[in-house]
Protein backbone atom coordinates (compact mmCIF):
# COMPACT_ATOMS: atom_id res chain seq x y z
CA UNK A 1 0.00 0.00 0.00
CA UNK A 2 2.77 2.41 0.93
CA UNK A 3 4.58 1.52 -2.28
CA UNK A 4 1.44 2.15 -4.31
CA UNK A 5 0.92 5.52 -2.60
CA UNK A 6 4.55 6.42 -3.22
CA UNK A 7 4.19 5.61 -6.92
CA UNK A 8 1.00 7.66 -7.19
CA UNK A 9 2.52 10.60 -5.32
CA UNK A 10 5.68 10.83 -7.37
CA UNK A 11 3.85 9.92 -10.55
CA UNK A 12 1.39 12.76 -10.06
CA UNK A 13 4.17 15.27 -9.38
CA UNK A 14 6.16 14.26 -12.43
CA UNK A 15 2.93 14.22 -14.45
CA UNK A 16 2.75 18.01 -14.13
CA UNK A 17 6.24 18.27 -15.59
CA UNK A 18 5.28 15.74 -18.27
CA UNK A 19 2.41 18.02 -19.30
CA UNK A 20 5.09 20.60 -20.06
CA UNK A 21 7.17 18.10 -22.02
CA UNK A 22 3.98 17.20 -23.92
CA UNK A 23 3.80 20.83 -25.10
CA UNK A 24 7.40 21.01 -26.26
CA UNK A 25 8.00 17.47 -27.52
CA UNK A 26 4.61 16.50 -28.87
CA UNK A 27 2.96 19.77 -29.83
CA UNK A 28 5.88 22.01 -30.77
CA UNK A 29 8.26 19.20 -31.81
CA UNK A 30 10.99 21.02 -29.91
CA UNK A 31 13.49 18.82 -27.99
CA UNK A 32 13.66 21.09 -24.95
CA UNK A 33 16.38 20.08 -22.50
CA UNK A 34 15.90 23.15 -20.33
CA UNK A 35 13.39 21.19 -18.19
CA UNK A 36 16.40 19.48 -16.61
CA UNK A 37 17.23 22.94 -15.26
CA UNK A 38 13.80 24.42 -14.69
CA UNK A 39 12.55 21.47 -12.62
CA UNK A 40 15.26 22.03 -9.96
CA UNK A 41 14.82 25.80 -10.45
CA UNK A 42 11.29 25.46 -9.13
CA UNK A 43 12.54 23.27 -6.29
CA UNK A 44 15.33 25.69 -5.33
CA UNK A 45 13.08 28.72 -5.48
CA UNK A 46 10.35 27.05 -3.45
CA UNK A 47 12.88 25.94 -0.83
CA UNK A 48 14.47 29.39 -0.73
CA UNK A 49 11.13 31.17 -0.43
CA UNK A 50 9.79 28.87 2.28
CA UNK A 51 12.98 29.27 4.31
CA UNK A 52 12.46 33.04 4.02
CA UNK A 53 8.94 32.64 5.42
CA UNK A 54 6.87 33.00 2.25
CA UNK A 55 3.64 30.94 2.47
CA UNK A 56 4.22 27.54 0.77
CA UNK A 57 1.14 27.93 -1.43
CA UNK A 58 2.44 31.25 -2.72
CA UNK A 59 5.83 29.72 -3.54
CA UNK A 60 4.26 27.51 -6.23
CA UNK A 61 2.90 30.18 -8.62
CA UNK A 62 6.20 32.01 -8.20
CA UNK A 63 8.04 28.82 -9.17
CA UNK A 64 5.82 28.51 -12.25
CA UNK A 65 6.67 32.10 -13.15
CA UNK A 66 10.41 31.52 -12.71
CA UNK A 67 10.23 28.44 -14.92
CA UNK A 68 8.24 30.36 -17.51
CA UNK A 69 10.89 33.07 -17.62
CA UNK A 70 13.64 30.46 -18.08
CA UNK A 71 11.61 28.81 -20.85
CA UNK A 72 11.13 32.19 -22.45
CA UNK A 73 14.93 32.63 -22.46
CA UNK A 74 15.38 29.24 -24.16
CA UNK A 75 12.86 30.35 -26.77
CA UNK A 76 14.48 33.73 -27.32
CA UNK A 77 17.92 32.14 -27.70
CA UNK A 78 16.45 29.83 -30.33
CA UNK A 79 14.36 32.42 -32.15
CA UNK A 80 16.35 35.63 -31.87
CA UNK A 81 19.91 34.28 -31.84
CA UNK A 82 19.02 31.49 -34.30
CA UNK A 83 20.62 28.83 -32.12
CA UNK A 84 19.52 25.25 -32.77
CA UNK A 85 16.67 24.05 -30.55
CA UNK A 86 18.73 21.38 -28.81
CA UNK A 87 21.59 23.80 -28.05
CA UNK A 88 19.27 26.50 -26.71
CA UNK A 89 17.96 24.02 -24.18
CA UNK A 90 21.42 22.79 -23.22
CA UNK A 91 22.68 26.36 -22.75
CA UNK A 92 19.81 27.30 -20.44
CA UNK A 93 19.95 23.98 -18.57
CA UNK A 94 23.67 24.39 -17.87
CA UNK A 95 23.36 28.04 -16.87
CA UNK A 96 20.48 27.22 -14.54
CA UNK A 97 22.65 24.79 -12.59
CA UNK A 98 24.61 27.75 -11.18
CA UNK A 99 21.52 29.89 -10.86
CA UNK A 100 19.85 27.17 -8.82
CA UNK A 101 22.84 26.92 -6.46
CA UNK A 102 22.66 30.67 -5.95
CA UNK A 103 18.93 30.63 -5.29
CA UNK A 104 19.44 27.91 -2.69
CA UNK A 105 22.01 30.15 -0.97
CA UNK A 106 25.22 28.82 -2.56
CA UNK A 107 24.58 25.30 -1.43
CA UNK A 108 23.78 22.03 -3.11
CA UNK A 109 20.98 21.16 -0.71
CA UNK A 110 18.57 23.07 1.42
CA UNK A 111 16.33 21.25 3.89
CA UNK A 112 13.31 22.97 5.42
CA UNK A 113 11.90 20.10 7.44
CA UNK A 114 10.65 22.30 10.28
CA UNK A 115 8.71 24.60 7.95
CA UNK A 116 5.10 24.25 6.90
CA UNK A 117 4.43 23.04 3.36
CA UNK A 118 1.27 22.57 1.33
CA UNK A 119 1.28 18.96 2.53
CA UNK A 120 2.27 19.51 6.14
CA UNK A 121 0.56 22.44 7.80
CA UNK A 122 -1.97 23.41 10.45
CA UNK A 123 -4.85 22.16 8.31
CA UNK A 124 -3.44 18.76 7.33
CA UNK A 125 -2.20 18.11 10.88
CA UNK A 126 -5.36 19.05 12.80
CA UNK A 127 -8.41 19.49 10.57
CA UNK A 128 -8.12 16.41 8.39
CA UNK A 129 -9.82 13.37 9.93
CA UNK A 130 -7.43 10.57 10.90
CA UNK A 131 -8.61 7.90 8.42
CA UNK A 132 -7.92 10.25 5.51
CA UNK A 133 -4.50 11.37 6.73
CA UNK A 134 -2.43 8.66 4.97
CA UNK A 135 -4.05 9.66 1.70
CA UNK A 136 -3.99 13.42 2.11
CA UNK A 137 -0.76 13.76 0.13
CA UNK A 138 -2.16 11.88 -2.85
CA UNK A 139 -5.44 13.78 -2.65
CA UNK A 140 -3.75 17.19 -2.64
CA UNK A 141 -1.45 16.13 -5.47
CA UNK A 142 -4.30 14.73 -7.53
CA UNK A 143 -6.18 17.99 -7.10
CA UNK A 144 -3.19 20.08 -8.24
CA UNK A 145 -2.43 17.80 -11.18
CA UNK A 146 -6.05 17.78 -12.34
CA UNK A 147 -6.25 21.57 -12.10
CA UNK A 148 -3.08 21.83 -14.20
CA UNK A 149 -4.48 19.40 -16.75
CA UNK A 150 -7.80 21.24 -17.01
CA UNK A 151 -6.02 24.57 -17.40
CA UNK A 152 -3.86 23.17 -20.19
CA UNK A 153 -6.91 21.58 -21.89
CA UNK A 154 -8.67 24.92 -21.72
CA UNK A 155 -5.66 26.78 -23.11
CA UNK A 156 -5.21 24.39 -26.03
CA UNK A 157 -8.82 25.04 -26.97
CA UNK A 158 -8.34 28.80 -27.21
CA UNK A 159 -7.27 30.74 -30.28
CA UNK A 160 -3.79 31.08 -28.83
CA UNK A 161 -3.73 27.34 -28.11
CA UNK A 162 -4.80 26.58 -31.68
CA UNK A 163 -1.91 28.66 -32.93
CA UNK A 164 0.48 26.77 -30.64
CA UNK A 165 -0.70 23.48 -32.14
CA UNK A 166 -0.39 24.91 -35.62
CA UNK A 167 3.19 26.02 -34.90
CA UNK A 168 4.19 22.42 -34.17
CA UNK A 169 2.12 20.96 -36.97
CA UNK A 170 3.04 23.29 -39.82
CA UNK A 171 4.77 26.53 -38.96
CA UNK A 172 4.42 27.85 -42.51
CA UNK A 173 0.72 28.16 -41.79
CA UNK A 174 1.43 30.32 -38.74
CA UNK A 175 3.27 32.74 -41.02
CA UNK A 176 0.40 32.53 -43.52
CA UNK A 177 -1.93 33.54 -40.69
CA UNK A 178 0.17 36.72 -40.33
CA UNK A 179 1.55 35.65 -36.96
CA UNK A 180 5.17 35.46 -35.80
CA UNK A 181 5.96 31.75 -35.44
CA UNK A 182 8.96 32.55 -33.23
CA UNK A 183 6.74 34.24 -30.68
CA UNK A 184 4.41 31.25 -30.62
CA UNK A 185 7.34 28.94 -29.85
CA UNK A 186 8.48 31.24 -27.04
CA UNK A 187 5.00 31.13 -25.50
CA UNK A 188 4.92 27.33 -25.72
CA UNK A 189 8.34 26.96 -24.11
CA UNK A 190 7.34 29.35 -21.33
CA UNK A 191 4.26 27.38 -20.41
CA UNK A 192 6.14 24.07 -20.64
CA UNK A 193 8.95 25.18 -18.35
CA UNK A 194 6.47 26.82 -16.02
CA UNK A 195 4.91 23.39 -15.52
CA UNK A 196 8.35 21.81 -15.01
CA UNK A 197 9.31 24.36 -12.34
CA UNK A 198 5.93 24.01 -10.65
CA UNK A 199 6.45 20.23 -10.46
CA UNK A 200 9.93 20.82 -9.03
CA UNK A 201 8.50 23.12 -6.39
CA UNK A 202 5.88 20.57 -5.42
CA UNK A 203 8.45 17.78 -5.18
CA UNK A 204 10.64 19.97 -2.94
CA UNK A 205 7.65 20.63 -0.67
CA UNK A 206 6.83 16.93 -0.48
CA UNK A 207 10.40 16.09 0.54
CA UNK A 208 10.80 19.33 2.55
CA UNK A 209 14.19 19.35 0.96
CA UNK A 210 15.97 20.77 -2.08
CA UNK A 211 18.86 18.97 -3.72
CA UNK A 212 20.74 20.16 -6.80
CA UNK A 213 20.67 16.69 -8.36
CA UNK A 214 16.86 16.65 -8.26
CA UNK A 215 16.71 17.66 -11.92
CA UNK A 216 18.93 15.01 -13.46
CA UNK A 217 16.88 12.89 -15.83
CA UNK A 218 13.79 15.11 -15.74
CA UNK A 219 13.65 15.20 -19.52
CA UNK A 220 13.93 11.41 -19.71
CA UNK A 221 11.04 11.01 -17.28
CA UNK A 222 8.95 13.54 -19.19
CA UNK A 223 9.62 11.96 -22.58
CA UNK A 224 8.93 8.47 -21.29
CA UNK A 225 5.62 9.58 -19.77
CA UNK A 226 4.48 11.35 -22.91
CA UNK A 227 5.41 8.51 -25.26
CA UNK A 228 4.11 5.76 -22.98
CA UNK A 229 0.86 7.61 -22.34
CA UNK A 230 0.14 8.61 -25.92
CA UNK A 231 1.01 5.15 -27.27
CA UNK A 232 -1.12 3.30 -24.75
CA UNK A 233 -4.18 5.47 -25.22
CA UNK A 234 -3.83 6.04 -28.95
CA UNK A 235 -6.79 3.82 -29.74
CA UNK A 236 -9.06 5.53 -27.24
CA UNK A 237 -10.02 8.75 -28.96
CA UNK A 238 -12.23 9.59 -25.97
CA UNK A 239 -9.17 9.97 -23.72
CA UNK A 240 -7.59 13.38 -23.98
CA UNK A 241 -3.87 13.39 -24.58
CA UNK A 242 -3.28 15.33 -21.37
CA UNK A 243 -5.02 12.56 -19.42
CA UNK A 244 -2.94 9.97 -21.27
CA UNK A 245 0.25 11.83 -20.34
CA UNK A 246 -0.67 11.83 -16.65
CA UNK A 247 -1.45 8.11 -16.81
CA UNK A 248 1.85 7.63 -18.63
CA UNK A 249 3.77 9.36 -15.86
CA UNK A 250 2.18 7.20 -13.16
CA UNK A 251 2.73 4.01 -15.16
CA UNK A 252 6.31 4.91 -15.90
CA UNK A 253 6.94 5.57 -12.22
CA UNK A 254 5.38 2.18 -11.48
CA UNK A 255 7.69 0.47 -14.00
CA UNK A 256 10.74 2.07 -12.43
CA UNK A 257 9.57 1.20 -8.92
CA UNK A 258 8.97 -2.39 -9.97
CA UNK A 259 12.46 -2.83 -11.41
CA UNK A 260 14.03 -1.19 -8.36
CA UNK A 261 12.16 -3.65 -6.14
CA UNK A 262 14.04 -6.56 -7.73
CA UNK A 263 16.64 -7.60 -5.20
CA UNK A 264 19.83 -7.38 -7.25
CA UNK A 265 19.00 -3.84 -8.39
CA UNK A 266 20.27 -1.16 -6.04
CA UNK A 267 18.60 2.21 -5.48
CA UNK A 268 21.72 3.83 -6.91
CA UNK A 269 20.90 2.20 -10.26
CA UNK A 270 17.81 4.41 -10.50
CA UNK A 271 18.93 6.60 -13.40
CA UNK A 272 20.25 3.61 -15.33
CA UNK A 273 16.85 1.95 -14.98
CA UNK A 274 15.07 5.19 -15.89
CA UNK A 275 17.08 5.48 -19.08
CA UNK A 276 16.80 1.78 -19.98
CA UNK A 277 13.02 1.80 -19.64
CA UNK A 278 12.78 4.89 -21.87
CA UNK A 279 14.87 3.10 -24.47
CA UNK A 280 12.56 0.11 -24.28
CA UNK A 281 9.49 2.31 -24.68
CA UNK A 282 11.03 4.06 -27.69
CA UNK A 283 11.90 0.80 -29.41
CA UNK A 284 8.48 -0.71 -28.82
CA UNK A 285 6.55 2.39 -29.87
CA UNK A 286 8.64 2.65 -33.03
CA UNK A 287 7.93 -0.91 -34.07
CA UNK A 288 4.24 -0.34 -33.39
CA UNK A 289 4.34 2.77 -35.56
CA UNK A 290 5.88 0.87 -38.47
CA UNK A 291 3.08 -1.63 -38.38
CA UNK A 292 0.13 0.74 -38.35
CA UNK A 293 1.34 3.84 -40.15
CA UNK A 294 -1.26 5.64 -42.21
CA UNK A 295 0.13 6.74 -45.58
CA UNK A 296 -1.07 10.35 -45.32
CA UNK A 297 -0.52 11.19 -41.67
CA UNK A 298 2.54 13.31 -41.11
CA UNK A 299 3.32 13.45 -44.81
Amino acid sequence: MTILLGILEEGLIYAIMALGVYITYKILDFPDLSVDGTFPLGAALTAGLIVKGIPPAAALPLSFLAGAIAGCITGLIHVKCRVRDLFSGIIVMTALYSVNLRIAGMRANLPFLSQDTIFDNEWTRNQVPDPIKPYILVLILAAITIICKLLLDWYLGTRSGYLLQAAGDNDTLVTSLAMDKGLVKVIGLSIANGFAALAGGILAQKQAFFDISIGTGTMVFGLASVILGTQLFKRFSMVRTTTAVIAGAILYKACVAFVISIRIVKATDLKLITAAILLLILVISDSLKRKGAHPHVGA
Binding site: R159, Y162, Q165, N170, T175, V297
Partner: protein
Amino acid sequence: MLELKNINKYYNAGTVNEMCLFRDFNLKIGEGEFVSVVGSNGSGKTTLLNLICGSIPLDSGTILIGRENITKMPEYKRQRRIGRVYQNPAMGTCPNMTILENMALADTKGKSFNLLPGTNKARIDFYRDQLKTLGLGLEDKLQVKVGVLSGGQRQAMALLMSTMTPIEFLILDEHTAALDPKTAETIMELTDKIVQAKHLTTIMVTHNLRFAVEYGNRLLMMHQGETVMDKKAEEKAATRIVDILAMFNEISIECGN
Protein backbone atom coordinates in the same frame (compact mmCIF):
# COMPACT_ATOMS: atom_id res chain seq x y z
CA MET B 1 -1.51 47.81 -56.73
CA LEU B 2 1.78 46.00 -56.37
CA GLU B 3 4.97 47.54 -57.63
CA LEU B 4 8.50 46.17 -57.74
CA LYS B 5 11.12 48.82 -58.47
CA ASN B 6 14.76 48.26 -59.44
CA ILE B 7 14.97 44.88 -57.77
CA ASN B 8 18.41 43.31 -57.49
CA LYS B 9 18.81 39.81 -56.18
CA TYR B 10 22.00 37.78 -56.18
CA TYR B 11 22.54 34.28 -54.94
CA ASN B 12 25.82 33.35 -53.24
CA ALA B 13 26.98 36.96 -53.43
CA GLY B 14 30.73 37.38 -53.05
CA THR B 15 31.62 33.78 -53.89
CA VAL B 16 32.75 32.17 -57.12
CA ASN B 17 29.26 30.77 -57.49
CA GLU B 18 27.73 34.23 -57.49
CA MET B 19 24.65 34.25 -59.64
CA CYS B 20 22.62 37.28 -60.52
CA LEU B 21 18.94 36.44 -60.77
CA PHE B 22 17.36 39.88 -60.94
CA ARG B 23 19.16 42.94 -62.22
CA ASP B 24 17.17 46.15 -62.11
CA PHE B 25 13.92 44.24 -62.37
CA ASN B 26 10.65 46.21 -62.55
CA LEU B 27 7.08 45.00 -62.46
CA LYS B 28 3.73 46.64 -61.87
CA ILE B 29 0.61 44.67 -61.16
CA GLY B 30 -2.65 46.58 -61.16
CA GLU B 31 -5.74 46.18 -59.04
CA GLY B 32 -7.82 43.18 -60.07
CA GLU B 33 -5.26 41.70 -62.45
CA PHE B 34 -4.92 37.92 -62.61
CA VAL B 35 -1.37 37.35 -63.77
CA SER B 36 -0.17 33.97 -64.95
CA VAL B 37 3.59 33.62 -64.79
CA VAL B 38 5.35 30.97 -66.87
CA GLY B 39 9.00 30.28 -67.54
CA SER B 40 11.64 27.58 -67.45
CA ASN B 41 13.17 26.28 -64.23
CA GLY B 42 15.51 28.79 -62.66
CA SER B 43 13.97 31.72 -64.48
CA GLY B 44 13.08 33.44 -61.22
CA LYS B 45 9.35 32.76 -60.94
CA THR B 46 9.38 31.37 -57.44
CA THR B 47 12.04 33.86 -56.32
CA LEU B 48 9.72 36.60 -57.52
CA LEU B 49 6.94 35.28 -55.29
CA ASN B 50 9.32 34.83 -52.37
CA LEU B 51 10.51 38.42 -52.74
CA ILE B 52 6.95 39.74 -52.78
CA CYS B 53 6.02 37.68 -49.72
CA GLY B 54 9.23 38.50 -47.89
CA SER B 55 10.33 34.86 -47.56
CA ILE B 56 13.78 35.85 -48.81
CA PRO B 57 15.52 39.25 -48.56
CA LEU B 58 16.35 41.31 -51.62
CA ASP B 59 19.71 42.98 -52.16
CA SER B 60 18.33 46.33 -53.25
CA GLY B 61 15.17 47.80 -54.65
CA THR B 62 11.72 48.70 -53.42
CA ILE B 63 8.46 46.81 -53.12
CA LEU B 64 5.28 48.84 -52.79
CA ILE B 65 1.74 47.80 -52.06
CA GLY B 66 -0.45 50.73 -52.97
CA ARG B 67 1.63 53.64 -51.71
CA GLU B 68 3.11 51.76 -48.79
CA ASN B 69 6.72 50.61 -48.90
CA ILE B 70 6.86 47.03 -47.60
CA THR B 71 10.48 46.29 -48.54
CA LYS B 72 11.56 45.96 -44.90
CA MET B 73 8.37 44.48 -43.52
CA PRO B 74 8.85 40.95 -42.07
CA GLU B 75 7.21 38.08 -43.92
CA TYR B 76 4.53 37.36 -41.36
CA LYS B 77 3.31 40.96 -41.31
CA ARG B 78 2.96 41.04 -45.09
CA GLN B 79 0.80 37.96 -44.94
CA ARG B 80 -1.93 40.06 -43.33
CA ARG B 81 -2.79 41.30 -46.84
CA ILE B 82 -1.57 38.29 -48.81
CA GLY B 83 -2.99 34.80 -49.19
CA ARG B 84 -0.55 32.20 -50.44
CA VAL B 85 -1.08 28.67 -51.71
CA TYR B 86 1.98 26.48 -52.12
CA GLN B 87 2.83 23.70 -54.52
CA ASN B 88 2.93 21.23 -51.65
CA PRO B 89 -0.64 20.69 -50.39
CA ALA B 90 0.76 19.99 -46.90
CA MET B 91 1.96 23.59 -46.52
CA GLY B 92 -1.46 25.19 -46.32
CA THR B 93 -3.12 23.13 -43.60
CA CYS B 94 -2.38 21.54 -40.22
CA PRO B 95 -2.45 17.75 -40.65
CA ASN B 96 -2.97 16.90 -36.98
CA MET B 97 -5.85 19.30 -36.51
CA THR B 98 -9.41 18.67 -37.64
CA ILE B 99 -11.05 20.30 -40.66
CA LEU B 100 -13.11 22.41 -38.29
CA GLU B 101 -10.06 23.54 -36.32
CA ASN B 102 -8.24 24.42 -39.54
CA MET B 103 -11.19 26.48 -40.73
CA ALA B 104 -11.37 28.25 -37.36
CA LEU B 105 -7.64 29.02 -37.52
CA ALA B 106 -7.97 30.53 -40.98
CA ASP B 107 -11.00 32.51 -39.84
CA THR B 108 -9.01 34.08 -36.99
CA LYS B 109 -6.38 35.50 -39.37
CA GLY B 110 -6.18 39.24 -38.90
CA LYS B 111 -7.83 39.04 -35.49
CA SER B 112 -6.11 38.61 -32.14
CA PHE B 113 -5.02 35.07 -31.26
CA ASN B 114 -6.14 35.55 -27.66
CA LEU B 115 -7.80 33.36 -25.04
CA LEU B 116 -11.24 33.27 -26.62
CA PRO B 117 -12.42 29.79 -27.67
CA GLY B 118 -10.49 28.64 -30.75
CA THR B 119 -13.63 27.53 -32.54
CA ASN B 120 -16.51 29.97 -32.51
CA LYS B 121 -19.55 27.68 -32.51
CA ALA B 122 -21.69 30.35 -34.15
CA ARG B 123 -19.43 30.19 -37.22
CA ILE B 124 -19.68 26.44 -37.82
CA ASP B 125 -22.58 26.80 -40.26
CA PHE B 126 -20.58 29.37 -42.19
CA TYR B 127 -17.62 26.97 -42.40
CA ARG B 128 -19.98 24.24 -43.62
CA ASP B 129 -21.29 26.51 -46.36
CA GLN B 130 -17.75 27.44 -47.36
CA LEU B 131 -16.68 23.80 -47.52
CA LYS B 132 -19.80 22.97 -49.53
CA THR B 133 -18.59 25.27 -52.31
CA LEU B 134 -15.65 22.87 -52.81
CA GLY B 135 -18.05 20.09 -53.71
CA LEU B 136 -15.86 17.47 -52.04
CA GLY B 137 -18.19 16.52 -49.21
CA LEU B 138 -15.80 17.91 -46.61
CA GLU B 139 -18.67 19.72 -44.88
CA ASP B 140 -19.73 16.38 -43.40
CA LYS B 141 -16.25 15.57 -42.11
CA LEU B 142 -15.65 18.50 -39.78
CA GLN B 143 -14.13 16.32 -37.06
CA VAL B 144 -11.77 14.49 -39.42
CA LYS B 145 -8.07 15.31 -39.22
CA VAL B 146 -6.80 17.05 -42.33
CA GLY B 147 -3.81 14.69 -42.45
CA VAL B 148 -5.97 11.82 -43.71
CA LEU B 149 -7.34 13.81 -46.66
CA SER B 150 -5.91 13.40 -50.15
CA GLY B 151 -3.56 15.98 -51.67
CA GLY B 152 -6.33 17.45 -53.81
CA GLN B 153 -8.71 17.77 -50.87
CA ARG B 154 -6.01 19.41 -48.81
CA GLN B 155 -5.12 21.82 -51.60
CA ALA B 156 -8.78 22.76 -51.96
CA MET B 157 -8.89 23.47 -48.24
CA ALA B 158 -5.65 25.44 -48.43
CA LEU B 159 -7.16 27.56 -51.17
CA LEU B 160 -10.32 28.13 -49.18
CA MET B 161 -8.40 28.93 -46.00
CA SER B 162 -6.03 31.40 -47.63
CA THR B 163 -8.92 33.37 -49.13
CA MET B 164 -11.37 33.19 -46.23
CA THR B 165 -10.44 36.51 -44.63
CA PRO B 166 -10.16 39.75 -46.62
CA ILE B 167 -6.84 39.87 -48.49
CA GLU B 168 -5.49 42.10 -51.23
CA PHE B 169 -3.34 39.59 -53.07
CA LEU B 170 -3.53 35.92 -53.81
CA ILE B 171 -0.20 34.25 -54.52
CA LEU B 172 -0.36 30.84 -56.18
CA ASP B 173 2.96 29.04 -56.29
CA GLU B 174 2.49 26.18 -58.81
CA HIS B 175 -0.48 25.20 -56.70
CA THR B 176 -1.72 22.54 -59.12
CA ALA B 177 1.67 20.99 -59.91
CA ALA B 178 1.53 18.24 -57.30
CA LEU B 179 -1.97 17.08 -58.25
CA ASP B 180 -3.25 14.56 -60.78
CA PRO B 181 -4.63 16.10 -64.02
CA LYS B 182 -8.27 15.71 -63.04
CA THR B 183 -7.78 17.20 -59.57
CA ALA B 184 -5.57 19.95 -60.98
CA GLU B 185 -8.42 20.89 -63.30
CA THR B 186 -10.90 21.00 -60.40
CA ILE B 187 -8.60 23.11 -58.24
CA MET B 188 -7.93 25.49 -61.12
CA GLU B 189 -11.66 25.98 -61.78
CA LEU B 190 -12.18 26.53 -58.08
CA THR B 191 -9.36 29.07 -58.00
CA ASP B 192 -10.91 31.01 -60.84
CA LYS B 193 -14.29 30.95 -59.13
CA ILE B 194 -12.86 32.33 -55.88
CA VAL B 195 -10.74 34.96 -57.65
CA GLN B 196 -13.77 36.17 -59.63
CA ALA B 197 -16.09 36.16 -56.63
CA LYS B 198 -13.70 38.05 -54.35
CA HIS B 199 -12.11 40.26 -57.05
CA LEU B 200 -8.63 39.27 -55.89
CA THR B 201 -5.47 40.54 -57.48
CA THR B 202 -3.71 37.28 -58.26
CA ILE B 203 -0.26 36.13 -59.27
CA MET B 204 -0.11 32.51 -60.38
CA VAL B 205 3.11 30.74 -61.19
CA THR B 206 2.47 27.64 -63.28
CA HIS B 207 4.11 25.17 -65.61
CA ASN B 208 0.78 24.31 -67.14
CA LEU B 209 0.69 26.46 -70.29
CA ARG B 210 -2.96 25.68 -70.89
CA PHE B 211 -3.91 27.06 -67.47
CA ALA B 212 -1.74 30.09 -68.14
CA VAL B 213 -3.55 30.75 -71.41
CA GLU B 214 -7.07 29.91 -70.30
CA TYR B 215 -7.12 31.70 -66.97
CA GLY B 216 -6.30 35.22 -65.94
CA ASN B 217 -6.09 38.46 -67.84
CA ARG B 218 -2.34 38.91 -68.08
CA LEU B 219 0.47 36.58 -69.06
CA LEU B 220 4.11 36.95 -68.12
CA MET B 221 6.98 34.82 -69.33
CA MET B 222 10.16 35.00 -67.28
CA HIS B 223 13.63 34.13 -68.47
CA GLN B 224 16.86 34.64 -66.54
CA GLY B 225 15.29 37.21 -64.27
CA GLU B 226 13.60 39.21 -66.98
CA THR B 227 10.12 39.33 -68.39
CA VAL B 228 10.42 38.27 -72.03
CA MET B 229 6.70 38.29 -72.69
CA ASP B 230 4.01 40.43 -71.12
CA LYS B 231 0.56 40.23 -72.68
CA LYS B 232 -2.46 42.00 -71.25
CA ALA B 233 -6.22 41.95 -71.79
CA GLU B 234 -7.19 41.38 -75.46
CA GLU B 235 -3.64 40.64 -76.47
CA LYS B 236 -3.60 37.94 -73.81
CA ALA B 237 -6.99 36.64 -74.91
CA ALA B 238 -5.65 36.18 -78.43
CA THR B 239 -2.59 34.25 -77.25
CA ARG B 240 -2.51 30.52 -78.00
CA ILE B 241 -0.41 27.82 -76.42
CA VAL B 242 1.60 27.48 -79.64
CA ASP B 243 2.66 31.14 -79.33
CA ILE B 244 4.03 30.52 -75.87
CA LEU B 245 5.69 27.30 -76.95
CA ALA B 246 7.39 29.10 -79.82
CA MET B 247 8.72 31.68 -77.38
CA PHE B 248 9.86 28.90 -75.08
CA ASN B 249 11.82 27.28 -77.88
CA GLU B 250 13.45 30.55 -78.79
CA ILE B 251 14.65 30.99 -75.21
CA SER B 252 15.96 27.45 -75.04
CA ILE B 253 17.96 27.88 -78.25
CA GLU B 254 19.56 30.97 -76.74
CA CYS B 255 20.64 28.86 -73.80
CA GLY B 256 22.16 26.35 -76.21
CA ASN B 257 19.77 23.52 -75.42
